[in-house]
């Protein structure tokens, strides 16, 4: 995953938060993930990638951030079920929007959402994962991108 490609996902994060909540997200400097200390908050929406690339993209956030976003988009039901749903939808939207640059052969799965710690998230062991730190209204979250080209 080169710098230009990670920028596609950073743009996706910024666009999502600004468009959906009217409040911009601050994105920190991306860094390589340590396999032993994988970043994970309360809810994680994971999208599997196949086709022209392989690997996964995941968005992970605390419940407090997800509750806050739900309220901002006009959703009064802020139960854990909807927080989980939102984590999946954010991941789906950012990964799907990346097809604008990567094209149709960048195939995305339906989201799988896990709650709890990093031990529940499995990444392809041969891929390096880039972590994009996100700060939105004082809530920390992250987008993690672990991809390799197949062609």
């Amino acid at each position: 995953m080169d710098e230009q490609n990670i920028q596609i996902f950073i743009d996706g994060v910024k666009n999502y938060f600004l468009q959906q909540t009217g409040v911009a997200a601050e994105v920190g400097t991306p860094y390589l993930s340590d396999a032993q200390a994988r970043v994970a908050y309360e809810y994680t929406g994971i999208i599997g990638i196949s086709g022209s690339s392989r690997g996964c993209v995941y968005y992970t956030a605390p419940g407090a951030l997800l509750r806050d976003v739900l309220l901002r988009i006009g959703e009064s039901d802020v139960t854990p079920a909807n927080q989980s749903d939102l984590a999946g939808e954010v991941a789906n939207t950012i990964a799907g929007n990346a097809r604008r640059e990567f094209g149709k052969d960048f195939m995305i799965s339906v989201p799988v959402v896990v709650s709890g710690g990093a031990e529940r998230i499995s990444l392809p062991p041969d891929l390096r994962a880039m972590v994009v730190p996100i700060l939105w209204r004082k809530h920390a979250a992250a987008l993690v991108v672990a991809l390799a080209g197949t062609s």
Partner: protein
């Protein structure tokens, strides 16, 4: 006019229902995947359908095909995160009349549906 909303996300289904339910559209069904959509479509006979593409069990492309076999006059607005041109063209070639990319505002959605209905009236 009757509206069927198809999306695997509960919050997106709610958002679309909120945005369009107050604009002379009666929400007659909420479906989580293509199979549910086909079943609800047969029972409720909607005039307008909002259709996600990436869904479990039956995706939106296959679902559009099935719904238009049941009623070719149905107005279908694709509402999807898949932002590449090829996917939009494929959906439009299949018979969907509009494509709205996620993330979207309630105003974007209302405008897209208005355009869809206007196009059907004048087309």
């Amino acid at each position: 006019m009757k509206l069927l909303i198809v999306d695997d996300s509960n919050i997106i289904r709610s958002k679309i229902a909120r945005a369009l339910g107050s604009r002379n559209l009666e929400v007659v069904g909420l479906a989580r995947n293509g199979h549910e959509a086909v079943s609800l479509f047969a029972r409720t006979r909607p005039d307008v359908v909002t259709m996600d593409l990436t869904m479990p069990e039956m995706d939106g492309i296959e679902c559009i095909r099935r719904l238009l076999e049941l009623n070719p006059d149905t107005l279908i607005l694709v509402v999807s995160a898949l932002a590449d041109k090829a996917t939009a063209i494929e959906a439009l070639k299949l018979g969907a009349q509009g494509f709205l990319c996620k993330p979207f505002s309630e105003e974007d959605l209302a405008e897209a549906v208005e355009e869809l209905i206007k196009g059907a009236v004048h087309g």
